[in-house]
């Protein structure tokens, strides 16, 4: 860890990275009710994903992602943070 240089570039600024936002528990409950799913049925995102670390989300949080869509302009999708490694 000591050898790791502090990364200066913020991944959130990259043009490939869409906007990620952690939902509050109330919003999360509303979203789940609207979609009619349990949290695990959402697509997952790893807790050590660079973006998740950058926004400081915890496992169990639900993240709202504003994707640039190829067909629909802009679309909101949700991912649940899971505590398992990317590798």
């Amino acid at each position: 860890m000591a050898r790791q240089k502090k990364q200066q570039f913020n991944v959130l600024e990259h043009e490939l990275v869409p906007e990620h936002r952690v939902l509050s528990p109330e919003e999360a409950a509303r979203v789940l009710r609207e979609l009619g799913v349990e949290p695990w049925q959402l697509p997952w995102i790893s807790y050590n994903d660079p973006v998740v670390r950058a926004i400081g989300a915890q496992p169990g949080d639900i993240i709202e992602i504003k994707r640039k869509s190829f067909t629909a302009g802009e679309i909101k999708v949700y991912r649940v943070v899971v505590a398992y490694s990317r590798k």
């Binding site: 240089k5 990364q7 200066q8 570039f9 991944v11 600024e13 990259h14 043009e15 490939l16 990275v17 869409p18 990620h20 697509p43 997952w44 995102i45 790893s46 994903d49 660079p50 973006v51 998740v52 992602i65 994707r67 640039k68 869509s69 190829f70 067909t71 629909a72 302009g73 802009e74 679309i75 991912r79 899971v82 398992y84 990317r86 590798k87």
Partner: protein, 418 residues
């Protein structure tokens, strides 16, 4: 439409019209995707200003657009995965088996066509031709010399790349490095820099014999010379790093014309090291990308990897002149990134992690899958398509998705009837 049309009510002013049909527009905004909604508003605006629209006409248009959109949606039970597989597979048969593509003055090849596509869906650790497109920041973007500066800073340069010859002088026990002035100029390295690099190897004092010749005087233990070891030392000298990023083998400067008429320079690299390159001065870290999906996943996260996967797949198909709807590719990328990491479509990924034993066995390694499942005592609930094809059940696709639920009404038994 004749009923709706009334010349008296024609409105040319969009502001006024949009006020009148506001509830309909609100409804459309809620139910339509952003792009379609924007297009609808834009077209309404255009028509209103050119020909005029009555509020009733406008309302009817909005209503019909919503209806048309909702009819075009995929219905529950539609086998989208199968359709996507067919839609990619059929044009795939027409792809060239091995294509190389040359860009720029110096030959620079990139895998394209079927091999590249297979690479993408297999989620390979490293593509066979890793490549980066490095964009430059405001300062370095419009100047060829400054662009070259950045290129030199990231290109991996070793002593071997700038030396004309390197040999061992047995008489004086030294390694002689003769530098090539042309290469030094090309790579932007000074003789002093090379000298410092050689000193850092700690093989012995470095002496500058003439303008382009450096001599390392080796410190050899008394009376003992090992030729093998001397050759090893020579190798170390040749491989000594002068500057650059290890994985970047070559960099070429490219340019393209921007819409405003200015020339923008950017770099193409042979080899990929996204994390390191993003930190280099002069690089625009916001736009720089690589064709290595795994690397994007590591550095920029799963969402960026998903996006890159789609664009890379589309690029391969477009380059081959194949017209595949992008939604099929989106579906593939969504499935591959569903678990938060990039999974391949195959044994070690999507197909191998299916919950159903029979579906896995039907894909690859039938016997082994069945053995393993038996050993673990797995149960197949027969919910998927493949399982039901195997056992001859009703496949849960389209109308087969429906099931009958019965709630039998039990009549309360009355005492008298006993």
């Amino acid at each position: 439409m004749s009923k709706l049309y009334d010349p008296q009510l024609l409105i040319h002013d969009w502001e006024k019209l949009s006020k009148l049909i506001e509830p309909e527009l609100e409804e459309a905004k809620r139910r339509l995707p952003k792009r379609i909604y924007d297009e609808l508003v834009e077209k309404l605006q255009k028509v209103a200003s050119e020909y005029g629209l009555t509020p009733d006409e406008a309302k009817e248009i909005v209503k019909q657009v919503i209806d048309e959109y909702e009819i075009s949606l995929v219905e529950p039970g539609e086998p989208v995965g199968t359709v996507a597989a067919q839609s990619i597979g059929e044009p795939g048969t027409q792809m060239t088996l091995r294509t190389f593509h040359f860009a720029g003055v110096r030959e620079f090849n990139v895998t394209l066509g079927l091999p590249r596509f297979i690479e993408l869906v297999d989620a390979k650790k490293e593509p066979s031709t890793p490549m980066m497109t490095v964009y430059l920041d405001e300062e370095h973007r419009y100047d060829l010399e400054k662009a070259k500066q950045v290129a030199r800073a990231i290109e991996y340069t070793r002593v071997e790349n700038v030396a004309k010859e390197v040999y061992i002088d047995m008489a004086t026990l030294s390694i002689v490095v003769v530098l090539d002035p042309v290469m030094l100029e090309d790579k932007g390295v000074t003789v002093e820099q090379v000298k410092r690099v050689l000193e850092r190897l700690k093989l012995g004092p470095v002496r500058k014999e003439d303008d382009y010749t450096l001599v390392i005087e080796l410190q050899v233990k008394e009376g003992y010379i090992n030729i093998m070891e001397l050759n090893k030392l020579k190798e170390r000298v040749l491989n000594a790093k002068i500057k650059g990023i290890k994985k970047i083998k070559r960099v070429i400067v490219q340019s393209r014309r921007l819409p405003d008429g200015r020339e923008e320079y950017y770099l193409l690299t042979d080899g990929s090291a996204l994390k390191e390159v993003l930190e280099v001065k002069g690089v625009d870290p916001r736009r720089t990308i690589t064709n290595n999906i795994r690397e994007i996943e590591q550095v920029l996260g799963i969402e960026a990897a998903r996006y890159a996967l789609i664009t890379e797949m589309k690029k391969v198909l477009d380059e081959q002149g194949l017209d595949v709807d992008i939604r099929h590719l989106i579906l593939v990328a969504d499935i591959m990134t569903q678990t938060g990491r990039v999974r391949q479509i195959g044994r070690h990924g999507v197909s191998g992690e299916k919950p159903s034993v029979l579906a896995r066995a039907a894909f690859e390694m039938t016997v082994q899958n069945l053995f393993d499942a038996a050993a673990r005592g797995e149960v197949d609930k027969l919910l998927g398509v493949t399982e039901n094809v195997i056992i001859g059940g009703i496949v849960p696709v389209g109308t087969g998705m429906t099931e009958i639920y019965m709630r039998p009404q039990v009549e309360p038994v009355r005492r008298e009837e006993r």
